[in-house]
């Protein structure tokens, strides 16, 4: 991609050309009964409504409902906002390096985070556990997705690299905390944390836009994660010749399928070992704390009169309350 013009940089009456993310592709009818294309065109910086008049059925059928397109056209003001009038549009494939321009991404280095995570895994003690960690770490296709996967579609960490960032944060927190819990088995905790959200790499589709895959909808990342572990344990045994203690394998399956804590939040079992409880509670602590910090957006308090700059946010459904935004000691 030579140069990408970000949507939030669009000005009125500007010619635009490049690869963008299309969403909600629909066929409309004008008052005169002629078909036209209605679609949202976006990238990591935002979205803009777009129209293409004189829509040809064949072209329409070739477009994804949600996916990447090469588009050209120019902008015009409409109802106090900009609108893009499309001249040409066609479906296109994108390279991995383009993704970070097109979709929201972490602001940390993915390479750096992944290296820190891998090194932590190599400090495990039990050879079977190391072999299991390697069965994942050396699966390049999987790790490519693991590095990029978002942690969710709409809540916390909903950006590329979110799963990796959240997983690493938990592993680094745990490694600091474990000396205060000498009864917990470090190998199990760290490996459980590494694997707990692994199947989000396929639960969520993020190569076009953030949405759930069929498997994600029908099985969820907890059951998928357990199915994957069955496969990777085979690899660990066959490729590395390591014996995997059956209790350890059982507990890792259990950590994966129980980490949401209670059935109403998707856990297939309630956490039932010390390590499973710790993993589940630490995951919850980080998710909810980060969500509250993001909602508070303290840096922006007082910048404007409207709600987003007020002392309380709108009600945050995942938290069950509105959030008080100011830092209580720096106002």
């Amino acid at each position: 991609m030579s140069h990408h013009t970000f949507v939030k940089e669009f000005e009125a009456s500007q010619y635009v050309e490049g690869v963008y993310c299309a969403q909600n592709t629909q066929r409309g009818l004008t008052k005169n009964g002629k078909p036209f294309l209605k679609v949202l065109i976006g990238d990591r910086s935002g979205q803009v409504a777009a129209r293409m008049w004189n829509l040809d059925d064949k072209l329409f059928d070739s477009l994804p409902e949600s996916g990447f397109v090469f588009v050209s056209g120019h902008t015009q003001p409409y109802n106090e906002q900009l609108q893009l009038i499309i001249q040409n549009i066609r479906a296109t494939a994108v390279e991995e390096e383009q993704l970070v321009d097109l979709l929201p991404s972490t602001d940390q280095s993915i390479d750096d985070m992944f290296n820190r995570l891998r090194e932590k895994m190599l400090t495990l003690k039990h050879p079977g556990m190391i072999a299991l960690a390697k069965a994942y770490l050396e699966d390049e296709a999987l790790m490519k997705y693991f590095r990029l996967a978002p942690a969710g579609v709409s809540l916390h960490h909903a950006y590329l690299g979110g799963v990796l960032q959240h997983t690493l944060q938990l592993i680094e927190l745990a490694d600091m905390m474990l000396p205060l819990y000498p009864d917990l088995n470090r190998d199990i905790v760290l490996l459980g944390l590494f694997l707990h959200d692994m199947a989000k790499t396929r639960e969520l589709q993020f190569d076009t836009a953030f949405s759930y895959t069929d498997e994600g909808m029908m099985l969820g990342h907890l059951v998928m994660g357990s199915l994957w572990l069955q496969r990777k344990a085979d690899v660990a045994r066959e490729k590395y010749g390591e014996n995997l203690p059956s209790d350890a394998l059982l507990v890792l399956h259990h950590i994966i399928i129980s980490h949401h804590g209670i059935p109403d939040y998707g856990a297939a079992k309630i956490p039932s070992t010390p390590e499973a409880v710790f993993v589940s509670k630490l995951d919850d602590l980080d998710a909810k704390t980060q969500m509250t910090i993001d909602a508070a957006a303290r840096g922006e308090v007082g910048q404007s009169k409207n709600t987003s700059g007020g002392r309380f946010t709108e009600k945050q459904w995942a938290l069950g309350t509105r959030v008080f935004r100011p830092d209580p000691l720096t106002e």
Copy 2:
């Protein structure tokens, strides 16, 4: 076993010898501080408290907390009931044919039920689905357990052969009902029903007494059933060379992990296809209807003054109510 004397046939001051099921093996202390053995001795007909004086630590260590034993001794009255005074006791293994004497069993022919079920499976249409059914049916070790497994430890069908009987009942009901639901896919419904409780064969341990296995406690038969399906699909592909459509496999996984209907009852996902809803609701209908019929025990109404012969049962927790027992048209 030459001849088995059933516990309910025990009379006072009778000599008894044979294989029984021991439960709750414990060491007690007499008032004089001497150790003795406290254990429940039982078979499919009932249980009796047993004591062995002069307990030797080595013997005690050799006994299972819950399992099969060869025992000899004689009975004596104690607190309006019988008690068994043990002379000799030792752990023992049992043959499959002995199990039906020692544990409660279905009153139908297991062979006959299994044959009816297998024939139903052979009427499936899609070759991939037939291959998948065969991957289970031809796994002799698994089928041996499937034929014997109880449907539960304490509620409906808590006897040997219960899983098979319940599964067959559902399949035969469904096959009669499906003509009235032409939109449902018969292959998926019948195969889904065949597999939905399959992992109960390992969730519940029943070769000694009815209890949960480690895997049953930590994963549950829904997730275990899904893990097994991943293995059996490999078999179907490799052994029978059949292509398994990915949607069908996905839906079968989904049926297995969702068939309890809602998260509070253990479902990892809410049933989300017409076939999954039908399987889940039919399973619930049969379980709850059978449970109510068993609780009502209509044949016995009026036999005695106490509650078990009254017009209402005690509160049935799984139903949330007491049950009105009389047949409303035959009293």
Copy 3:
């Protein structure tokens, strides 16, 4: 009605005249402050927004907020849709045979379904139960409504004939299933199913549009059904001279007031006899299965890019989930 032009056949600039269903009759004000009529005009094929300029207060007062009207006017395009400009409008009564054009209806023969249901009822064994069935079947005014009543206002079977179709489906299913439940009393199950939704004929008003009556809102069809049974039992005794066993009558009342299963779904009692449990669970199985089949609308998968043609439906609130639409073996 000589010939009815269906709303979905309306074309732009067409003159229209006939009986339609009016809904949401309101008085608007133009920018110049003059009153006009805003109303939705519809039939079984759809609805169209309508306006009548120069509204006269007397005319407005004569119109039903929701009901049948004779209307004339012509169509014009408005905001990519059609609008009806009314010239004349007046309230009108409709004949029963007109109802099926004006409101959505079952696609099966109502006569045929009713005959099948009546014949099933005549196979009951106990003379008192037959007399009770006749007390309903020979109440012509009631049966006229029972044949037409919709099963609901917005969920499953929300069309004319829905109660009859759903009731018959349950009775035919039950009659096939009962041989596998020899402990259940067939007379009670079949009569209970016949009566369970009977009072929906008056809970829901459907001679103008689908809405709840005062009695429906204040008592619900469960309590109303029980009040009706008290009346019909009098008829059975007086007209047919049959003795009605008190237990049977009590259980039928109980089936009617408990068939929604749990208090949160409107049951006044939790089902507490084997027949009541069976009726409640079968009703639930059919309702939820049919709802999922309707939501999936498999025939239409893939026809369009938007959600209604996607692989998953929107979230179905009554099911608690989105529905996976494809037939897993025929895509």
Copy 4:
């Protein structure tokens, strides 16, 4: 009954003869295998365990599981308590005036309370409402039960006359409060209160001991109350020739079936008119306040060391908490 010796007056080694309430009649076996009778013998003052040795099967079959008996025997100490050794026992019928000795009763005059209630009803304004009240008040068989019925089996007002006392308390409270709620219709509120618990007279059996009848178990006093109102409205129309406004009748049915407030507490509908809300909330206020006052039993605080004399009661399940007993200003 010449003279009744109350159970709490029993002394050791006393000869006792008279009519008592038998409960939990059972057949036991001695160590020697001989049958004996185990039964609780009681009256309003308490209960005592009783045994009859040499039980004859014919006698046993003639005794009620729970009911009134004429009994003679003498007392003896057993396990720090008294026990009654029965010589003769036979089932017997009791007169209404005996009931108040045998079962716990209100400490107010039933005649006086009933008269106050009747006079309140005669102050209603609408002739139809007065006719309806009379249809109940002049049903002597019903009123005899209404005067005696307990308000519950185990919670508040569980004594003879409890329904009457609670109903009168609500009516007198309401009549004082209504001037502050001028929008509420006094006739509807007072009549609704009169009828709300009427069917408790048959939901609960209290002529032998406090227990639920079949109708009480299967329908509950809310639905039964609505069925009775249908009958009494016929009487009001036929006997008194009064027109009963349909809205008033509908609202009275609604008050009866909704007065428990929410489905989880047995309401078939949620209260939906101002009068229904007032009736439901006042009923709840009186029930819970009285229950807390009874639990606190302030007069007895500090009399003993054990819990019943402590500052807090045991947890009261119906209140969800323990109760602080002292009067905060008089200790």
Copy 5:
């Protein structure tokens, strides 16, 4: 305020000048990209949308997001409604007597209500309780707010004087009812009622518009009320030299923090003394009855075709149901 023109009296093309309540102050952009002011201008009679073209940033920054403004301009029709085109606007302070024109208010005399309440408090018997009541009654700043505070932002009594009116209603009801509950301590009940909603005077901000304060959001009026009681008890001791029995103080704290009845409704503890139960239930009775009466708005039934004039209201979320509006005996 010489003369206030109420918003509902605005006519088209009228010049308007005066103090109003501004809400939702926002900066918009015209199609040409020029900033303009969007704001709602209102008083107790209603609200109207307002625009000011040519908005100057300095002016915008000086305006409250929600607060009182002096405004001049003239009205014009827009989309079937009036709109105010602002010429001048500036933030302003208001006097207490202006508040009643600008915000909705009780229709009773605040002075009269306050006097009745004070006199009730002076009938308490215990000198410590009287001293405590005086500690509140003689806090002029607090009483000024107590007289004006609304009982809520959106549900019952959402108008100036609402807390006082609701509190007085409860105290007068209780004083009539208490003779029928001789076990309740009158001082505690009456004082508990006086204090139960006291902290609503600061939970809700009502000097500009009805909204929650920071303390209201973060602590709620239950905890705030308890904190205030700690302060006022100091005053009572120090200023009046009265001893406050520790149990009485503890129970008053408990009544304040428990009066919402259950944790889900905000109670920090479940009511656990007879007086606390009575206060909580009476508060609930009055709130829900008044809410239903207000929703029914019986005087207006039948005035129009739309829902607000129908026999049922829309669903009332705080009641969980729609409300039947007609007086059942006067239709």
Copy 6:
């Protein structure tokens, strides 16, 4: 206390004399009707049933229902356990240093833990926050209780020093974790953790046995903690002359009353700032992890046949599940 003989060291027929903790003091009656004393006698090592024959009423009245006593007597076997036959018993006061022998205690040094906690508090940055911490730390009477208070009566940390140990654990964990949450205010988090359970020192009575105080029962440690903070903030202002920012004080009140997370667990508000969420989640993580570790008691797995030595514990109600006990990598 010269030398204390621990209950678990009692042998049969041993003379015992010393200070112990009495619980459940009751008066029994022998078969001959003579009063005797029944009481549990215990210390940190266990409890033993005790009896004193020939009980004198005056002595009985002088004994606490639950409290410390000086007792002498000798032991004898009874029903396979020991029993203490009391010769003399009288109520007594105990010194702080005796408490640790009489009640279960932490196995860490209380002085050391308290010093570590105080030093952490002195690292706060804001002078107002330091002043507030000092207002607590320099309240010697309070700190004496804070050092000893148990964290609960029956669940986690139910031993002397439990509140201190749990509080310090949270503060040390937080201080390690905070660098990974740069948006959280360290002063607020650390001070919030210090104060969150402070009022447990008076919610729970532990100078005799572990039970709830009146204030604990009626207000709970959340509301009490907030009331205390109001007092301590006065001290901080008056004694140290420090300004306390109002937002900080508000947030600290909020952290205290919200730290149980949801209303059902006693929170008066849902945590609504990033620091409040973090404190609440960390408290939950530590409590549940420690509870699971304690339940698992891994060191003891396999020591015996009965449940306490099995692979799963009994169901842990506070966790909602049974706990899998083995360390998965060391069995």
